[in-house]
Amino acid sequence: MTKKVIIIGGGPAGMQTAASLLDLGIKPVIIEKSDRIGGKLNDWHQLFPTFTPAHEVLAKLKGSMKDARVITGTAVESIGKDGVSLSDGSTMEADAVVVASGFNLFRAELKEELGYTIYDNVYTTVDIEHMLNDGKVAMKDGRTPQRIAFLHCVGSRDEKVNQRHCSKVCCVTGVKQAMELKAMFPQSEVYNFYMDIRMFGPGYEEMYRRAQEEFNIHFVRGRISEASETIDRRVQIKAEDTLIGRPLKMTVDMLILIVGMTAGESNRRFAETKGVELQPSGFVAPADSFTLNTCSGVPNIFYAGTVTAPKNLGESINEGVAAAQQVARYLNRR
């Protein structure tokens, strides 16, 4: 008797779920809406806090799940009791479904006052990862930046854009990129504007300290509330340096918005299934947040990765392992 398991999403969590299911003798199917697996890991350059090239991790994941069946270019429209319906109109039966559909990146355009897509030299951390992958980080007109500002918590902890949650990994991402850019442009000055620095993971705080001490990155506690373009297409920013209680203004060559994680856009659709509940943040709610992190209210629907909350890569991958275990337990018990 072969049991059929569908994994929604071919990002790191989905890939690891597939790999772990294969280890347990279950052959899963990954349904990936884009045309390749790997999810957003495809876009990243180096991973914090070790500066490991993202493609190395991706290659490992790919290698461990190469026997799984992968359907790309197909999205899951809805999840039912006995399977899923797909964007091509077909349905696919399954004994269990693992939702590993991930997160969406916050659309920085929504923070209009920061000028993303309006001013030439406002970027997001995602743009920078792309530039790093392309091997050239530069201003719009190709000049080398002399002054760079990072703004933390763009689309996180912000009532004004209905993102009340902390996206958790952006702090360390911003610090990582600050270090990468400073290493690339040693003559430049790099400023990080933050509300809090939340260095929750192992080695993160140590990396933060290196950023300060060895890379001489300036950390200013205060949120940039306004950005404007100057005549030479640089960006004038205004913040309060809350530690001195004075407004602070400066002109930078690049303003980089450290964008947070928002709930995946498919969560809402999936939540139409009874037993799949959303949290106020829009992320899917696990059955309980201590012992059943990868389980839903439906016995044969499971979760892995950032579909339930912002997580770092290691946590997402671990959830793939955990979800596979839960799936196997469920299938064996039946």
């Binding site: 300290r209 001489n216 001195i244 602070l248 203004k249």
Partner: protein, 108 residues
Amino acid sequence: MDFGFSINRPRAVDLDKNDLSVSRKALMEMPEWQACIGCGGCTATCTAGNLTQFNFRKVHTLVRRGDYQGAYEEMNKCMLCGKCRLVCPRGINTRGVVMMIKRLLSEY
């Protein structure tokens, strides 16, 4: 002409106009100074701060931002007792910071 008022100077710390050369030099000499996370432990335990408005954290942060006005005079309130160094969670040589600010900024 007397207007009965004059144009207020902007309160903003302007990193475009501030002369950052001294602060750069200081940070080069003492990179650990940049590791300050603004916890305020130094200011809370400060012997001089117990008796005056002297706020070490604020003054040294201003200096890092290139705002040197009055920093020397403020640092002269310090008694160099070293309590701040004992409490600093980031291990910053706070007394060294005081001495450096005084050495570099005596003419400001």
